[in-house]
Symmetry: C2
Subunit: 440 residues, 2 copies
């Protein structure tokens, strides 16, 4: 099918989905694009959904299946705190790739890292009654804001495009002092700007968070995916940067969806440094059943929501962590496929009149990774996301990511393999011809 | 090892676990009993934990494993609303065993039925701001109260020993009018009393709940397990009683842990009648992202907590539901093993001076099932639970189940197979000799 598609047909479909595409969530956009693909019998360049484009390693799928078929797990409730084998493997993994000493009992499996974020945010926002706001280092994953709403917590936001280096900690300090902040959440590499906080930024951030007694929630959804560094050699520097090197008051939330492409089985991990694990907040007792942080996470967080994580997936993740530390698997190398895709896709956009919104990483060139952000001259993000649909390209607006730069869109590279780059370039060329502009 | 065990050693172990056994949660008791078993090198008669004592059917484990090994599911996020195959099978199951028409899109998989209860309670307690209390028809599953706390909802309780038949609806009506109730939760068969609400009670209950605009949360953890009736023939009466026959304002929360012994894979279902699914509550928008009940359940409940249910377990449950409706599997017959165990265990207690706390079902003899409740003359529940530990028998107090009758304990029959009945009888005999009493 020729692009652009018929405008009235596209409008009719958007109308039928009852959607404001500028505000559409990832999943809503996903459903709309499915409908457009069917209607126009055309495969879109799908950049709206941060789904892994690689397959889960066989070692995970086999271990998961073996536990079910040969093990004695399907009829037994999993321990809330996770199976000992997974906790042990995760502790080794933390040492190998973050160089942190976190004992097994301080690591809790969750139903996806989302579940870990949910509980961590609930705890950070309710441990001191006078500090019920969460500070987001934006842009970010839209659902985290929804999680804050679910806990009835307020949200405060700064934009990483405006505050990096020394300015970052200074602004966080200012906001903590003026906005009753209980927790501070970010992902690094950042979804969607792909900027990465440096060790010195993390150190300064740790200092102001500690000073203001604010709990850090470090979302490691993209663990090891700053491809400018090789984090793949276990027990050997460089290590994945983490604020836990500079403060104990942190929940490190780890996802197996991106590094291990194990998204479908929903098994994440939350690491809680031992001194933080035993820290008591009397106010937690009321809502989380226990005053100590680790107890509250397990008995007041995991227990009432899901009563643990399905057993098979825990065995799958155990196998992945063990094989990686042992050197039988190198997921860090495998996910470099996303680096290649990002490189080609960014170039396609830049060659056709687009520009990057988050365009530098403290003066360094931005790494190529899972996401990038882009805009087009003289168009708002809302106009752009809608217009691109006519050219068979889907994304979400930066608006829904909490970015303060609403002219742009977020692109996820994962589903576009290199064989589709020519199609992408052709569609962008058509777009540019339809909308001739000079770069600003 | 001879019972009673050495009193000082038992005390020391309780002390080391820092436990008040009268208030201990199921899992805390579980850990203590593990330690006692190790210390005294003696297998306990373990009645504290409602874990299935049967194995999950092979059809489930094979389907789950096959999806992982042959399917394309491990790396793909599951749809939040559940995989279509499971929703379809669940709709058929609802028709076959409850004789309800619930279309697939109104059935949502959850991470265990606990997850369904958690979300349902959050919705029922927050859809109208002036009705933030949950009414529990007690006794019940202790964690449900913890879920209410987690949502910062108040709890109101009536005891099913005091109100049955016409009196039940009358008391519920009175409480709804005086206590700002948003939702009403119960399980039937009831954990732990094993009383079962009749069709006429459900009908009257539906009327007063509807009149007071209170949402029902019907916990079907023990679906089909009132063994006085044969519910096992699909599409043929008698059907599992449900309040959904008399009101649409209900979340039916289904567990695969007991009927299917699939507890380890944490996959439950919530059924939402279609007219309730589209009912809009403006206040839900704020905390659950969407005003309509089904949308709010999925986008404001499932999404922020776990972003869906692991894929493998969904395929496992799909296979179980399909095989059952097709007649290849009869889980209703298999779980009758619990009926046999309950019969023998209750008799053992009654023969040795104990009595049942919840001793009749509206004048009918109580069914034999997964739980029963018992007490001993002139002992409180706290004294009894602690004393029985010296005789190698573990349970939890009725106090933690919200029962108003705190002299008793809850016994779960699932882990005691018939080969252990003689051991149980011997230990109860020793207990009785140590504590000679007359029945009251």
């Amino acid at each position: 099918m020729q692009v652009p598609f018929d405008r009235e047909e596209v409008q009719a479909l958007i109308h039928r989905h009852n959607l404001d595409v500028a505000k559409a969530s990832i999943r809503e956009m996903n459903q709309l694009v499915n409908a457009l693909e069917t209607n126009f019998a055309t495969k879109f360049i799908r950049m709206e959904f941060g789904i892994p484009g690689l397959k889960a390693a066989e070692v995970a799928r086999r271990a998961d299946a073996r536990a079910l078929l040969e093990g004695d797990v399907a009829h037994r409730y999993a321990p809330f705190e996770g199976i000992p084998e997974l906790k042990q493997a995760a502790s080794q993994f933390a040492k190998a790739y973050m160089y942190l000493d976190i004992p097994p009992h301080c690591i809790v499996p969750t139903v996806g890292s989302m579940h870990g974020c949910y509980i961590a945010m609930g705890l950070a926002g309710h441990c001191v009654p006078s500090r019920q706001n969460i500070l987001f280092l934006d842009p970010g994953f839209p659902v985290n804001k929804l999680q804050a709403k679910s806990w009835e917590l307020g949200t405060v936001s700064l934009d990483l495009k405006d505050f990096r280096g020394d300015a970052l900690a200074a602004e966080v300090d200012r906001l903590c002092q003026t906005h009753a902040i209980g927790g501070c959440l970010w992902s690094s590499p950042n979804n969607p700007s792909w900027v990465v906080l440096t060790e010195s930024e993390l150190k300064a951030l740790a200092e102001v968070l500690t000073k203001n007694q604010v709990i850090a929630i470090e979302d490691m959804a993209y663990f090891g995916m700053d491809f400018r560094h090789d984090y793949s050699v276990p027990f050997q520097a460089p290590f994945q940067p983490t604020i836990a090197r500079y403060t104990d008051q942190v929940f490190i939330v780890f996802s197996s969806s991106k590094l291990f492409s194990y998204a479908g089985q929903r098994c994440g991990l939350t690491f809680i440094p031992p001194t933080f694990a035993t820290q008591a907040y009397p106010h937690l007792q009321q809502r989380f059943y226990k005053p100590q942080m680790l107890d509250a996470f397990i008995h007041g967080g995991i227990y009432p929501t899901t009563a643990g994580v399905p057993q098979g997936p825990q065995w799958g993740l155990t196998a992945l962590l063990e094989a990686t530390v042992r050197g039988d698997l190198n997921p860090f190398q495998e996910v470099r496929e996303y680096e290649r895709r990002a490189h080609l896709m960014k170039k396609a956009f830049l060659d056709h009149g687009f520009y990057l919104v988050y365009d530098s990483d403290q003066g360094m060139p931005l790494a190529d990774g899972f996401y990038f952000t882009f805009a087009y001259p003289e168009m708002t993000g809302a106009e752009l996301v809608q217009e691109l649909l006519h050219f068979g390209i889907s994304a979400i607006t930066l608006d829904v990511t909490g970015s303060h730069y609403t002219q742009g869109l977020r692109a996820c590279v994962s589903l576009t393999d290199t064989s589709q780059i020519e199609t992408l370039r052709h569609r962008l060329q058509c777009f540019q011809q339809t909308h001739p502009r000079r770069k600003p």
